[in-house]
Structures are given as structure tokens and as C-alpha cells.
Symmetry: C2
DNA sequence: TTGACAAGTGTACCTCGTACACCCTAGGCT
DNA sequence: AGCCTAGGGTGTACGAGGTACACTTGTCAA
């Protein structure tokens, strides 16, 4: 009886609750560690219970991506295309910053869901409304590529260190030696990595660059390019 | 005896052979279907035999990426930076075109291997040799991002259709209906998708755009930007 | 020939996604 | 109120996958 009371007290699941729990769990443990079983446990149900709310894991991840999309600011309507695009991209970026797993999740999808199509459509709409020809808008969206989602394909920047060395943060001698080693093997990477001022000075090579700056640098480079082509009435023909 | 002869006739495995077999198998069945067990079967050994040559699956994929990198042309030394970068990127692109799984493999790595660092280092070297300041070279490499590997983060272009519809290639009526449906829901995507001439005219929406063109469009846009900043002596300070 | 090291094997364990058949409960109908 | 039913939740089980560990076999140098 108390058992039953316990059970009935428990809020019932629905797709939304499942997706939100999945997002929260992924925030915590990363998307690779997110399994149906782990998620079920978090929700205090048996794994198979989830399948009443999502078709399969693919569908779960699709749903999670949609949750993220909903966090992105809607496009501005009262400003120029450039400002609207720029702000929206940066808003997407900040959403992806809150959910570090999302980039991988988005990249792993290979069929667009309606939510994704809608997102892309509104981008296209902003360009068209800004006077871009459909032709130019098309190419420009391709050029934007993943940046539309707020990420560059960074992979790993030149400043990331091989994992073998990560474990020794409090060993200045070893670090200096490794730095010298890197400088021998990869002189150019070290040159450009050390050229930019560090925000984190206790590491010789690591985390030296401001990701946000790099992102906006590339974004603005592209936007400048778009603007020029647009002004010149560029066509692919 | 004949059994033994059979066995001894078999060439011995080594890391290189394992990696090459893995690349070939991934070319054939895709990287998702590539399992240690399947690869072992292909090589006619028991799964655990592979572990004598690769540390684990991570290591296997790292090795596969290195194989790909070796397929990319070395940098030109006798031409300007712009030409050198452009050619190399396009060479990387064609390697990735031959191995469609490679993009995903590269993206999934989160710690750079020496081969990867070396590849990036030679890019950096090309910029520096071209007279870029370390500062500008740094930002420019970030801007290049994944394009350095010959791919844009396409995700899915506006012309990709939801998978539910993929199965009916020979149903013009349904296709027309779906097109109308898309045009209602995603008018802007349809507008820009149909603006560019198709190379495949039997599909109303699909595969309309020339990926190579889009790639070079964005690449040149960036290279133009780089060139201007370089000429102006741009600094981040 | 022999001895030792490296290559290959067999078995077994754990984690995952998920099919299938079942039970239970809440909410609408009489 | 009592009943019925749809759909949420359960239990069990299977097959695929990565890989630890202990073992056997093959190769080659001394």
C-alpha cells in the first residue's frame, strides 16, 4: 500500500519530461555516457518504460536537439540581415556552450527533423528578407555551415596537449621539458600558439586562446564576404 | 598438417595491415558498422588477435585517421601561401571523398595524435612562411577550422529530405505532393534550393547543389578575407 | 635444438539497445 | 459506484559489441 502510494505519487512520464531529463543528464555526464538504462534509472523507471515515449535512441537524441533549438533566440525582425544573422548565430553558440554535448549530437544526425528544417528555414528567410537572391542565399548558407549552429569545427586546436601529459598539472619541470619537446616537433604550432596572449598563464601551452574571439573572427570574416558579394550583386552564373 | 600449412601460409598481422584492412572495410560498410569483431573476421583471425596490434578501438580509429592523412598531398613549397593552402585543402577534401567515413572519424577524435599535430603544424608553417604574423596565422587557422580537413560542417543541406520519403523514388504524384508540403512549411529553404541549377533533374528537391562548388565558394571567401587582412597588416591587438 | 618472446586463441564478463509479452492503473462510460 | 480499456510501466531475454585474462602456438636467434 505505501508502495502503491509511492508509485502513484510519482509524476507520470511524458515525452517532454523524458527529453528534459535526458538533456539534464547529458549536461552532467556527457552524451557518450548517456544510455537508455542510465536515463531510465534517473527517472526511476525501468529502461523499457522510455520506449513508450521515444521510438528509440535516435529519436531521443533528435528530441534533445529540438530542446536545444528551442533555447536559441528567435530571429530579430526589425534589424538588418547582418545583425539578425550575427545575433542568432551567437545565441546558438551560447546555447551550445551551455550544453557541451550538443555539438556532437547535432553533428551525428543525418536526417533533418522538422524542428531543424524550421531553424534552417528561418535563416534562409533572413537572408532573403535582406535582399539576397535565392542563389546567393543558397551559397552563403553553405558557407556558414556548422557556424549556423554556433560552432566551428575546431576538432582540437593546436594548443591542446596529448592526453598522456594532461595528468601532471603540478610538475613544472616535466612541463617545461614537454614544451621544449613540442617546440622541436611542432615549431609552427608552438609559434602561433604562444603568439596570442594567454588568459591562463600557469600553463605553458594550454588553453591560450579565446574561443569566443576566434569564433567571432571567422564569423565576421564570412559576414564581410557575404556583404561584399551582396553589394556587388554577385551571381554564381 | 594441411591445416597448419594453411595457417602458416597466412601472412602475419601487423599494425599497418590491420589499419589498412580497417580503412578498406570502413570504405565498404561504413564506420558505424565497423566493429572489432567484424574486422577480425575480415582478417581471418579471432577478435582478440587485433589487440596485439592496436591498444583498443580508439587507437584503431586514430590509426585509420593517420592512414588518411598520409593520402593527403604534402604542401607545395614553391608557390605562394594561398595556392599552397588551397591545393592542400582540396587534396584533403578529395581524400575525404574517397573515404566517406573519415569525416566522422576525424570529428570524433578529441585528442590530437602526433600525425594530426604534424599535419596542423605544416599548415601553420605555410602561413608563417607566407609572411603571416604568428598572431594572424593563429586566427586564420581557427577560421579555417574543419575546412583544413576538406570538409565543411554541412550537417544536412536544405535539400535533404526526411527519411520517410526517401523510399519512394518512382512516385511522381507523392513527390509533387511532398514538394508542395515542403513549400508550405519551409518556403525559404525551397526557394533557395530550387534557385540553383540541378545536376540531377529527375528529383524535385534532392541533390540539387554541387558540393564541390559550395566548398570552394566558402574556402575562397575565407582565403580572400585572409589575404586582405594580411595585406593590411591586421593585428588582433 | 632450444628457449623466449611475440602472435594468435578461447572463454567469459559487462554494457547496450530493444523485442515481446505481461500487468496495472487512471479516466471515461454506463 | 462499478466496469472497461488504452496506454503507461515491468520483467525477461536476446544479440551485438568491447575487451580482460589466461592459455597455446609459431618464429627466430643463439
Amino acid at each position: 500500500m505505501s508502495q502503491q502510494a509511492e508509485v502513484s505519487r510519482r509524476v507520470r512520464l511524458n515525452r517532454q519530461r523524458v527529453l528534459e531529463a535526458a538533456v539534464a543528464l547529458a549536461d552532467e555526464i556527457g552524451i557518450d555516457a548517456l544510455s537508455m538504462r542510465r536515463l531510465a534509472q534517473e527517472l526511476d523507471v525501468v529502461p523499457m518504460a522510455l520506449y513508450k515515449h521515444v521510438a528509440d535512441k535516435e529519436d531521443l537524441v533528435d528530441g534533445m536537439v529540438e530542446v536545444i533549438i528551442r533555447e536559441i533566440d528567435p530571429p530579430l525582425l526589425d534589424s538588418g540581415w547582418r545583425d539578425a544573422i550575427r545575433r542568432r548565430v551567437l545565441s546558438a553558440r551560447s546555447a551550445l556552450q551551455r550544453h557541451r554535448w550538443a555539438r556532437q549530437a547535432i553533428e551525428s544526425r543525418n536526417t533533418p527533423t522538422p524542428a531543424v528544417l524550421e531553424y534552417q528555414d528561418s535563416f534562409a528567410g533572413t537572408f532573403l528578407a535582406g535582399g539576397f537572391t535565392p542563389d546567393l542565399a543558397h551559397h552563403v548558407m553553405h558557407a556558414l555551415g556548422g557556424r549556423m549552429w554556433g560552432f566551428t569545427q575546431e576538432l582540437f586546436d593546436g594548443t591542446a596537449k596529448p592526453k598522456s601529459e594532461v595528468a601532471s598539472p603540478a610538475n613544472p619541470a616535466a612541463q617545461a621539458e614537454m614544451f621544449a619537446h613540442m617546440a622541436t616537433l611542432y615549431p609552427n604550432i608552438v609559434t602561433i600558439a604562444t603568439a596570442t596572449p594567454h588568459d591562463d598563464d600557469d600553463s605553458v601551452v594550454g588553453r591560450g586562446c579565446d574561443d569566443q574571439f576566434e569564433f567571432e573572427f571567422a564569423l565576421d570574416l564570412l559576414l564581410d564576404g557575404f556583404e561584399q558579394l551582396h553589394r556587388r550583386g554577385w551571381t554564381s552564373a
